[in-house]
């Protein structure tokens, strides 16, 4: 379903963005301005089978979100290949696409269309989304009046109802209160096995509970991959050694 082989993504470290804008003015300057490069991901290979749930763990800046973005087709690989068979539903830091001035209802349409759903499709699922997000009358209020939990719930509800083959989830379980968490967990359990899911999370229990495979990313390379329990143990063991504990977001 998702096949990543020898993937490398490099970024250029620049203080300003100007270099490439002006590079065409003076070819010779290109060299001089050539910024330092760093590989956010390198030599990353793995496959995700249909219906599999993969958890990705790692410290901040280890390339987890970059990896999701590559799978979502936002960054093209600089090295290696990524092939994705099926439609991807993206869900990153929740509600980034939301327009704060618009109502929750309008944002459902906007977000849904962003993900590539048609208006007809959204018309069909909007009631389920509103009910699942437990927004009640707030659905017709501007999103700026929402609490962060409400935003997260709405974002989660849209993604989960979008009915795409591949669901990418970034740091979701931290959002919402205990009751919603339970509901989200239940919904996760339902789609697991049915959909292909890739979760990025700091919340180890989430990975432990849902993932059939875990990948530990460390500074852009795969440090360990396989059965979740073992990978998590290695990750935790490695985290302990570092003197200041990795600060969680």
């Amino acid at each position: 379903m998702v096949n990543v082989s020898d993937l490398g993504i490099k970024f250029k470290m620049e203080k300003r963005r100007r270099s490439r804008a002006l590079a065409f003015l003076d070819r010779s300057r290109k060299q001089q301005w050539s910024p330092r490069e760093f590989w956010a991901l390198r030599h990353v290979s793995f496959t995700v089978e249909r219906g599999e749930t993969v958890g990705i763990i790692g410290r901040n800046g280890s390339g987890k979100s970059t990896l999701l973005r590559v799978i979502a087709g936002i960054y093209p690989p600089d090295e290696g290949r990524v092939s994705v068979d099926g439609e991807v539903s993206t869900l990153f830091s929740l509600g980034t696409g939301f327009n704060a001035e618009l109502s929750g209802r309008d944002n459902i349409y906007l977000d849904g269309v962003m993900m590539g759903l048609t208006k007809m499709k959204i018309d069909g699922i909007i009631d389920a989304i509103i009910e699942f997000a437990e927004l009640g009358d707030f659905i017709d209020m501007p999103v700026r009046t929402y609490s962060s939990g409400m935003r997260a719930r709405l974002g989660f509800a849209i993604a989960i109802h979008s009915d795409k083959d591949i669901v990418l989830i970034d740091e979701i379980m931290g959002a919402g209160d205990a009751a919603f968490k339970q509901k989200a967990d239940a919904e996760m359990s339902r789609i697991i096995g049915e959909k292909t899911v890739i979760i990025v999370s700091h919340v180890i229990p989430t990975i432990e509970k849902f993932a059939s495979k875990a990948i530990w990313l460390d500074r852009g390379v795969i440090a360990a991959m396989g059965e979740p329990k073992g990978v998590i143990e290695q990750y935790l063991a490695a985290s302990k050694v570092k003197k200041p504990p990795p600060d969680e977001e």
Binding site: R18, I74, L91, E101
Partner: protein, 259 residues
């Protein structure tokens, strides 16, 4: 490049919703809301009427309607351009979450600008009657002129959207450039009054917008065909459009990484 146009066409529903909701969000918090769509061009018009007509004592009997036509078209171009510079950098979160053709961002600004033009046109129609514009079959040129302007604006805005992402200074430069071009174009003054006759050809060739604006005035008020200089505008529009598409398609993936 054809690939790119196809991609945009595929995501037209997204474009539609971005435009619709952007317009809705802009009007939502205002007491007068929708009324501003009509008030904005009117207030702009009155400002320049005071300046030109009362302070400088210039302009003939039909000047008000000619001014209004020029202001509408100019405003469409200028607002699209100033929106486009930051159109990509202001949507970082979105661009990093979903894959979609980046051209949609500047395009949505241009389409919103066109709706503003249409709202202004509603006011323009009675003005045409009041100032006794001559209606002829030449009014049929109007959609053609709008199309030319649209194509050219898309080109300019695609370029400025890409450049503006790399170079934040561009938004300062653009604001200034828009202002200068406003005064250099026949909006608050008349070509026949202010440009010496021997220089007219040179001027009309040098400023593609001049030909466009004069053509708008010709087909709507003077009842004659567009000036021959509209060819300059058309040529520039087509070239800029192709360059813009090419420039964006070359940079699209790089942009996603630098924002």
């Amino acid at each position: 490049m054809i690939e790119q146009l196809k991609n945009i066409w595929q995501r037209r529903e997204l474009l539609y919703y971005i435009v619709r909701f952007q317009m809705k969000a802009e009007k939502k918090n205002k007491v007068l809301g929708f009324v501003w769509s009509f008030l904005d061009p009117l207030l702009l018009f009155f400002t320049y009427m005071i300046l030109v007509h009362y302070i400088f004592g210039r302009g003939g009997p039909q000047f008000p309607v000619l001014l209004f036509i020029s202001l509408l078209s100019w405003r469409w171009f200028a607002s699209s351009l100033s929106r486009s510079v930051t159109s990509i950098t202001s949507k970082v979160g979105l661009i990093q979450s979903v894959r979609f053709p980046l051209a949609i961002l500047p395009l949505s600004g241009i389409i919103i600008g066109f709706f503003d033009w249409l709202f202004g046109f509603v006011i323009l129609v009675p003005m045409l009657f009041i100032f006794e514009a001559s209606f002829t079959v030449n009014i049929l040129w109007l959609p053609v002129l709008l199309l030319i302007q649209f194509v050219g604006t898309v080109g300019v805005c695609l370029i400025s959207a890409v450049l503006g992402t790399y170079l934040s200074d561009l938004s300062n430069i653009i604001q200034f450039a828009i202002r200068i071009c406003f005064y250099l174009s026949p909006i608050i003054w008349m070509v026949e009054e202010r440009v010496p006759e021997r220089l007219t050809t040179l001027y009309m060739l040098g400023n593609p917008f001049a030909g466009m604006l004069e053509s708008y005035k010709n087909v709507m008020v003077r009842g004659v065909p567009p000036t021959e200089y509209v060819i300059v505008g058309t040529a520039v529009a087509c070239v800029v459009f192709l360059v813009g598409l090419w420039y964006l398609s070359r940079n699209e993936y790089k942009l996603v990484k630098v924002i």
